[in-house]
Symmetry: D2
Subunit: 326 residues, 4 copies
């Protein structure tokens, strides 16, 4: 890896998350986008599919050796299971990897409970959960980072300052349609999604495993709703934190996030529109009666996926954490 | 009231709720719309303002005597405080009234805590809370009914079968923009409301008083979010009900709502789109871990306001409850 | 057909147009919905798929004999080509048919130019173009009616009063996403369709053949745009009509449509929102300089498809034209 | 003006156009935002009102002397008439100005026909119409530039390569709601604008004067429609250009725009989504029958207002034309 990793491959560059990875890397002052892969659309240029992103890269099929020749680091935006297999090939060739799938977020037991048999369990030991606000130093030292889920990112950023003190939590997530992915389905059809709100996967959402892993044990309920917007997540968190007062809560949050480059602790309930197309997260906390209520608003494709992946990569490569993200 | 109340006045017929009241009454097989009031728009025809509703009634300024001459019942869709004063005038003239404002929903103490000094406290004793699923017989016997708030309607319909057993509840409400009213404000501007989700009135929403009144004491949190759709409310309710199993919960709900003409207990999380422009409410309940999760989806202008008001009026007048609402 | 056709089958009752046909027939005072067909979803109830329409009919696979036993008339909402084959089977069994596809709208030459070889050309002679405002008497006498395309309906209703006088016309159509059908595609994905406007089929839209057939020869351009709403079409028509003044144009339109039950000639540019979920069409005409500008707003699923099909069927069966449509 | 104009004031920095001006200047590598004015919101920080833009500037009331002390150039985003008065004060103090209002776009006669008496007619002689694709050299030499209207920008960019050859043109514009400005009105209310399309100002739109001025005489019709999206304009232009073939048209456009940094001539009808939040314009031209059809898609706040104003300013200051705009 003679270039220190600054030549970057994006695998799966035609999904919503991967496409934005390509765009951010392409414009990044210290990184160079050298490979962008796709299956069905190999041979076409990225900017034919995503004109707004203006990335002239020609898409190609994935070949690990070819990637390793031209890149020192990779952002992998494949579906889970496929991701693990690609990550193994890249790690075997020495690339630093941020994987945006769920494959390396959980320990093996939790993963196999929510997903399926793990395809590359030998790599789980080296993988770091890529939430910089919780694991900055580990990320900086890692060669494999697992990008957190978008809903989990919002839920965790809304509650991290209270880690260890939350007895009971309800995470009510409102997520835009791009979070459901690029596949055209009945649910993502405009005539279903517009003028509609609904919860999904009520009986148990995979992201709850990430919450428990990061926040520690507690009585947690996690539920996601589809709302009719394109990019954006609002996490509304209803917490039981014995003895916490509003002043103390606000002070804790301001303190915890004072040095965070992408977190704004704000004085009123945040709007998803205010973070759209940015890597920022707006957090608000208050205590009403004996319930602590905390919010986080992010753009699911930025701080919830591609932006955060590049933030991780910046840390892994020793670059300024915010580079290419402002 | 020689006509038994079937000649109906709608006061405030140009706001979103009042306009729909006028439309429903106009098409109602047993009711006749004889008066529709407005201030700024008096003299214009209702269907100039709301062509889709096709109500040819000429709008006029409110005059209690004129209304009493031509109507035996009234739906009052004025802002609170103004509503109480109009209701008093109509009650003095013997009209049956459904008031859509908050003025007669609460007892005087609760009202004055959340709103202001009450303008017609002598009427509070006779007012009945107009949620048919909870107070059908009282409504049928009443001369003054207080239409429930739209958010409260959704929250209560999602939880009524568990009344008295809920120790702890989080009511997370997602409400469409029409619920914010017809006034053009920064919040209702398309360029604010589209591509946005945000909570509002986090420190305490007036509707929570209705919840406590109807469900009895408990540790309740109630929070409303603005979502980018026009008509629709989804209430997601996270409940602690000791000992409740999923099977028992489903049985309780099916039993409680078996005879309800407008409530559908459904097998999966409801979509607001599925009740749009109807007076129906779709309810779903499940138990995940030790948390009971219940949902209700309604159209805020129908079951949350105008439709429910006519449902109340049908009961008050001895008409079939569903008449004019299907 | 001992019932005079009032027992009605809807073929293809799970597409957007067919689903609404089923709903309108189900609620129609003089019609009875006896059959609703579907392929993939046979065996399910219609109201599982379209809860808002509240049609409890069980969907079944198409069998011409079974349909003929239980119905005297049919609304066919199949894709073209498939439609022609089904229509032939139904006509052989004596049913009156309104076909919503393009299969019977054009003469054979025009059809085969824009579509493909016709599957049932022997029926073209008896088919009537189902725009009541142009062909009311023929429709009333017909056994096979071809429902006009939704875009053509809007374009024609905006211009019919000037038929024969239009030298040059640009029809610029703005159409909601439901017009693209229920199939989930890249174009109907919320994350493509929201915050977007684009023209499609610029090189020649099939609907232009209907325009020419109905308006007679002229220099006509017809172009459709996808706009981010669910139901609605606005046709903006820029016409060269030598010698026409504004007063004369308005008088012509008011006169032509004076007796039309579903057409409103209005004094300003119409809004699609004002006809949403109705069978109405709002038309406006003016002359600016030497250009006549005419608009029509309809709901593509109602006056543009299912509503108009039932309007046709009412005529064919000797029922009041507006029955079931208000 | 010792700094050569690189210290920049934005007047009217709280409207949609002005707010984006502030953001672009703030991030511009060669410019410094030194003043941002507002009336009602003076004293507040820009990023309180527009968090997404992240401009920390404190808003202040307009004072010409104070502006002249701290800035060598200004972007003026005031309503017309107010703009002219402010521009005069700034020009008297030697600042270079780009004015985004209509005040300096037209000659006095045309202006006073469409607007009102001009407040600073003595400046009309020095003002240059700020469409770089038409007037690049004049803009570079100017001290006062009039930013084109957003609808006109789209219409002109779609047709400029045919200037002088267009006999007849229909410009059908579809414009997002942000183009109607930040004021909350009945038309910008979400519950009016969503699920709606309508034309406005049918009898004559002020922007048509700009078209005639730039394209020369012809039989032109210009009409704008409000469509339910936030940022974006699509101009669909139906042109009569005698003798023009499709190949020639495409060649003409490719040639005319080959060196333009912000114009993409594309092979199919452009989507507004593809230029959202960019200063780019996507243009497509074809010939169908004897009609030339041309499209341009822009973001009304970027290439239609703030982005183009900075593009003008870059030219006026001798900076790279695209600086700060990519």
């Amino acid at each position: 890896m003679p270039d220190g990793g600054t030549r970057v491959a994006v695998l799966g560059a035609t999904g919503f998350g991967g496409a934005l990875c390509a765009r951010i890397v392409h414009r990044h002052p210290s990184l160079e986008l050298t490979v962008a892969t796709a299956r069905a659309e190999a041979g076409r240029r990225h900017d034919e599919l995503y004109p707004r992103y203006a990335v002239p890269q020609v898409l190609e099929e994935f070949d690990a050796d070819a990637v390793a020749e031209r890149a020192g680091a990779a952002l992998v935006a494949y579906p889970h299971k496929t991701a693990a297999l690609a990550v193994r090939q890249l790690r075997e060739r020495g690339l630093k990897v941020v994987d945006l799938s769920a494959d390396f977020r959980l320990d093996q037991a939790a993963y196999e409970r929510w997903y399926q048999a793990h395809e590359a369990p030998e790599l789980l030991g080296e993988a770091v959960y890529g939430l910089p606000e919780a694991h900055r130093d580990e990320i900086a030292a890692a060669s494999l980072v697992a990008g957190p889920g978008c809903n989990s990112t919002a839920a965790l950023l809304a509650t991290l300052p209270l880690r260890g003190r939350i007895e009971d939590a309800v995470f009510d997530i409102k997520a835009g349609v791009s979070g459901a992915g690029r596949e055209a389905t009945e649910e993502t059809h405009y005539s279903s999604a517009a003028e509609n709100v609904n919860a999904y996967k009520v009986e148990g959402h995979r992201h709850s495993a990430e919450i428990e892993q990061e926040l520690g044990p507690g009585r947690f309920s996690f539920l996601t709703h589809l709302v009719p917007l394109d990019q954006g997540i609002l996490a509304s968190c209803y917490l039981t934190v014995p003895g916490l007062t509003k002043d103390e809560a606000v002070a804790l949050y301001r303190d915890a996030y004072a040095a965070e480059p992408f977190i704004d602790v704000v004085d009123s309930a945040p709007h998803t529109r205010h973070v759209q197309d940015t890597n920022r997260c707006r957090v608000h906390v208050t205590v009403v009666g004996d319930r602590t209520i905390a919010f986080a608003a992010i753009d699911n494709l930025w701080k919830g996926a591609a932006g955060q992946a590049v933030q991780d990569l910046n840390l892994m490569l020793g670059l300024p954490e915010t580079e290419g993200l402002e």
